[in-house]
């Protein structure tokens, strides 16, 4: 005899309907945002509350459960689009059936390298530490940095990306650089195949862009895995000429450099130099970063060759423009350039009686941060053109002087570079 199972049938239907209301498995949690995920809260009802009452409580506030942390019996609740998380936390909190309600907080792992002097690199991670080793050195402003640690979660660079350091050479034996050198490079001052640094400037620039990182030694470079191609175009006093610089650019881009850093300049236009830059940028697809200059005057060349070069001004540990940074409409971005610690040639340091690391000021240092960032971008997006890389760096910069000059300006361009915004996927929330 067949039985009528009205209650059982209706119960099953009600159960499935409840499932439809309370949803299925969880959504992946987002990686970053100010401090909590938008559009959702975590909600736990008291254990005695039956499911229909829970459903009513959610429906009453136009919310729905989109996932559940089963062991804790905590629901991930999607809230109405026109309500804020704070409002909904307060609203649910008034319900006596609710055990607790809270925002879905955002946690982000930050990749902090173990390099000995990383704490001194405020430019990479500024937590308000003292800047410099001398007693009485100033303290930085927290977050006045280029957001390196969070960006390194996304990428630490590609070994196939080569940064050409056109400068006074590079200390090829430096403990923080020797494993990063692609080749001994070329010396266009002495015309030999040994671009050893006899001045110190190039070694500092190279270390900022791509020192060996997480090796318990010295400093962290911006691009951990990129290689350095040393090209000596400045002599032991820090001077070079058009012939050396132009030859250096052409040699570097023909020998694998995809990023160039030019931390030198002159007030004079240089047509031969412009032609070499054009070849590098247009023909070889090479990104070029250059220092604006340190005389509080018009932007120097090559930085002033606006079309081909990312001209870089300098900020300090408070995200303020340094008083000596050159200015002009050619400025694209800024980066920290005041009291920057970096690698220094071992031989020169030993002669002076200090370890092979040194603090230095200058847009030269700022430019090297930009070169390092460009190398990271090129590493994860090799198909981008140099002008696209430049735009990513520009558009993602923090307009740190917006209270005085809103938007792009002649002092800091689009602002101080922000590695996180340039590299980490931007969250689309609405």
């Amino acid at each position: 005899m067949r039985k009528t199972h009205w209650v059982l049938g209706a119960g099953v239907i009600a159960g499935v309907t409840a499932l439809l209301v309370f949803g299925g498995s969880g959504l992946p949690r987002a990686q970053d945002s100010p401090d909590h995920m938008p559009g959702e809260v975590l909600l736990k009802f008291k254990s005695s509350v039956p499911i229909p009452v829970k459903a009513l409580a959610l429906a009453a506030l136009r919310s729905r459960a989109q996932a559940r942390i089963s062991p804790l019996d905590v629901y991930v609740v999607r809230i109405p689009e026109d309500a804020t998380v704070e409002e909904m936390v307060e609203a649910f909190g008034r319900n006596p059936d609710v055990a607790y309600v809270q925002p879905n907080y955002v946690y982000r792992a930050c990749l902090t390298p173990n390099d000995k002097y990383f704490e001194d690199q405020y430019a990479l991670f500024n937590k308000g530490q003292q800047v410099g080793w001398v007693p009485g050195s100033p303290q930085g402003k927290p977050s006045a940095d280029i957001k390196a640690t969070s960006a390194w979660e996304e990428t630490t660079g590609a070994a196939g990306v080569v940064i050409g350091i056109l400068d006074s050479g590079v200390d090829l034996t430096h403990p923080d650089l020797k494993n990063k050198i692609k080749s001994p490079g070329y010396d266009f001052v002495n015309n030999d195949a040994d671009a050893t640094d006899d001045y110190g400037h190039g070694t500092m620039v190279a270390g900022i862009a791509a020192a060996e990182t997480n090796n318990y030694e010295g400093i962290a470079g911006v691009s951990w895995n990129s290689k350095i191609l040393p090209v000596k175009v400045l002599n032991q006093f820090g001077f070079g000429d058009t012939v050396a610089v132009v030859n250096g650019i052409l040699w570097a881009v023909d020998n694998g450099a995809q990023i160039l850093n030019l931390s030198f300049g002159t007030p004079a236009r240089d047509t031969a130099l412009e032609e070499a830059l054009k070849y590098a940028f247009e023909t070889k697809g090479v990104f070029i970063a250059a220092a604006a200059g340190n005389d509080n005057t018009a932007v120097y060349y090559p930085a002033a060759y606006d079309r081909y070069v990312c001209a870089t001004a300098a900020t300090d540990y408070n995200d303020q423009r340094t008083t000596w940074s050159n200015f002009g409409s050619e400025i694209d971005v800024a980066a920290p350039g005041d009291k920057i610690i970096s690698t220094y040639p071992v031989a020169l340091a030993q002669a002076a009686g200090f370890p092979p690391y040194k603090f230095q000021d200058g847009t030269s240092m700022a430019s090297a941060y930009v070169a390092g960032l460009a190398a990271l971008i090129r590493g994860i997006k090799p198909s981008l053109t140099p002008s696209e890389i430049m735009n990513i760096i520009r558009y993602s910069a923090d307009d740190v002087n917006s209270s005085i000059y809103k938007g792009q300006d002649v002092f800091l361009g689009y602002g101080r570079i922000n590695m996180e915004k340039a590299l980490v996927p931007l969250k689309i929330v609405k």
Binding site: G9, L27, Q66, R394, Y395, K427, I428
Partner: protein, 265 residues
Amino acid sequence: MSGRRRSAILGLMTLGVVLFRPFPARAQDAEQTRTRVRPSLAVEYFSRTIAWDEGTSTSILSASSAVLRGEVEFQKAGHLGLFLGYGFSNFNGLVFRQLPFSLDYQAGSIGSLIWGGDFEARFISLGDFEIGIGAQFTMSLGRTKDFEIPALNATGSLAGKGTWTRVLAGPVLRYTGYENFTPFLSVSYNRIWGTFTMNETIGDLVGSEEKKITARGPIGIVIGTVFEPSDVFRVKAEITAVPFKKLTGGLDTDYGASVKAVVSF
């Protein structure tokens, strides 16, 4: 009582009588030979783990829909149905790294047109059990949705569009020993695939990235029941579980549920 209110109550009462009237004395005999057209309203929610970037990354696709459905029932031997409706698909968790600015999609659901068809055939009866096969094809055609660009020094536009297709097919075992209440169990091939295209224009930067998605776990287990309180009205409810192997090892399960209200003529 106003005339309008009275009419509404009368209308509801009439509908109640039509939907829940008892089976007529010889109705079941007649039913065996009838081919009937049944309109229905169905709502569904499912959540599936989807793989993308050549299967190296996963996120969740959750979708809900409400469709109007028409089915032709062939002398209790099976049915053929077509449906059309609207739904929402949530692709949260997709990450687009080929665009000039990489994007992490967390913007929630996008509306979509839902259409498809299904059929079920019953061909073996063993006492109170029936064995048949069922299949369903569903397509979700998402509309293009614009999103806000996060704080950058350039203006532009972001637009995304997602579509997916689902195919279900497999044997169905029904228990017919109860009146009004027919539980069933099915093990079905349950495949979802689709694309999500994101277009980015930020200042001078322009890019487009299409993400091919495929649901993990090809086989689903469906448990459900048909609840038939009257000759002309029935409700079908089911829960689907799709086990799958996680990229990180181990097993996990996705779930879905649907309720379908069917009216017969």
